[in-house]
Symmetry: C2
Subunit: 173 residues, 2 copies
C-alpha cells in the first residue's frame, strides 16, 4: 500500500515537472537534451544511410544517416540548401582492426553521435543548423552551455558553400 502511494506521488511530481518544463528540456528516451535545448532525435538508429567516412587524423570511422526528410532531399538532389527539418546524424567510432582481415579497419569503441538539424530561421545564428552531440554509450550531452554550438559552427564554416555540410551523399543505383 505504501509503495502504491509513493509511486502515485512520484508520478504526480513527474507530471508537474514535465508540465512546467519548456519543451526544449523534455527528455527523449531518458537521454538529457543538449545544452542548446535540442533533444536526441528518437529512432535515429533506424534512419537510412547517407554516407560513410574514415578520418586518419583522429583514427575514426563515421556512419552518416539521415531522417526521412534528409533522405528525400538527397534522392531529389535538394541538398544545397537542405530543406528545413532535414536532420543528419554522424555516428563516430574509434578505429579497430578486423581480427581476421588485418587490412580492414572496422568500428571499435563508440565515441559519440552528432546531429545537425536544419532550421533556416530558428538556427540562423549558426548557419541555419542546430548542432548537438551526445558522448559515448552513456549519451552524455556535449557542452557546458548553449555556446558549444559556436564550436561546431566554426568547424563547419569552411563548408559554407555546401550549406555547412561536409558530407556528400552517396549515389546508389
Amino acid at each position: 500500500m505504501k509503495e502504491k502511494v509513493m509511486s502515485r506521488r512520484y508520478t504526480l511530481a513527474g507530471s508537474l515537472l514535465v508540465a512546467l518544463m519548456p519543451s526544449a528540456f523534455v527528455w527523449a528516451g531518458g537521454v538529457s537534451p543538449a545544452p542548446n535545448g535540442i533533444a536526441l532525435p528518437e529512432g535515429y538508429k533506424d534512419w537510412r544511410v547517407i554516407a560513410v567516412s574514415h578520418r586518419t587524423d583522429n583514427n575514426s570511422l563515421r556512419i552518416i544517416l539521415g531522417n526521412d526528410r534528409a533522405i528525400a532531399a538527397t534522392r531529389s538532389g535538394q541538398t544545397n540548401p537542405w530543406p528545413d527539418g532535414a536532420t543528419l546524424a554522424k555516428l563516430v567510432f574509434k578505429d579497430a582492426t578486423h581480427g581476421s582481415w588485418k587490412a580492414a579497419t572496422v568500428p571499435g569503441k563508440f565515441v559519440h553521435a552528432e546531429f545537425m538539424v536544419k532550421g533556416k530561421k530558428r538556427y540562423a545564428a549558426t548557419g541555419g543548423w542546430g548542432f548537438a552531440r551526445w558522448l559515448g554509450p552513456a549519451q552524455t550531452p556535449y557542452g557546458k552551455d548553449a555556446s558549444f554550438a559556436q564550436e561546431c559552427y566554426g568547424c563547419h564554416t569552411p563548408m559554407k558553400a555546401n550549406d555547412y555540410v561536409f558530407t556528400h551523399p552517396v549515389v546508389l543505383p
Copy 2:
C-alpha cells in the same frame, strides 16, 4: 486506337513471358539476377545500417546494411548463426579524398553491391548463404555461371566460426 491495341498486345506478351519464367529469372527492377538465380533484393537502399569498414588492401570503403530480419537479429544478438531470411548488403566504393578535409577518406566511385542471403538448407553447399554481386552503376550480375558462388564461399570460409560473416554489427546506444 492502334496504340491501345499495341499496348494490349505487349502487355499480353509480357504476362505470358512472366508466367513461363522460373521465379529465379524474374527481373527485379529491371536488373538481371545473379547466375545462381538470386534476384537483386528490392529496396535494399532503404535497409538499415549494420556496420562500415575501410580496406587498405584494395582502397575501398564499405557500407554494410541489413534487411528487417537481419536488423532484428543484430539487435537481439542472434547472429551466430543468423536466422533464415536474414540478408546482408555490402556497398563498396573506391576511396576518394574529401575536397576540404584531406585526412578524410570518403566514398568515390561505386564499385559493386554484394549480398548474402541466409538459407541454411537452400544454400547448404555454400555455408548456408546464397551469395550474389552486381557490378557498378549498371548493376551487371557478377559471374559467368552459378559456380561463381564458390569463389565467395571460399573467401568467407575463414569466418566459419562466425557463420561465414566478416561483419561484426555495431552496437549503438
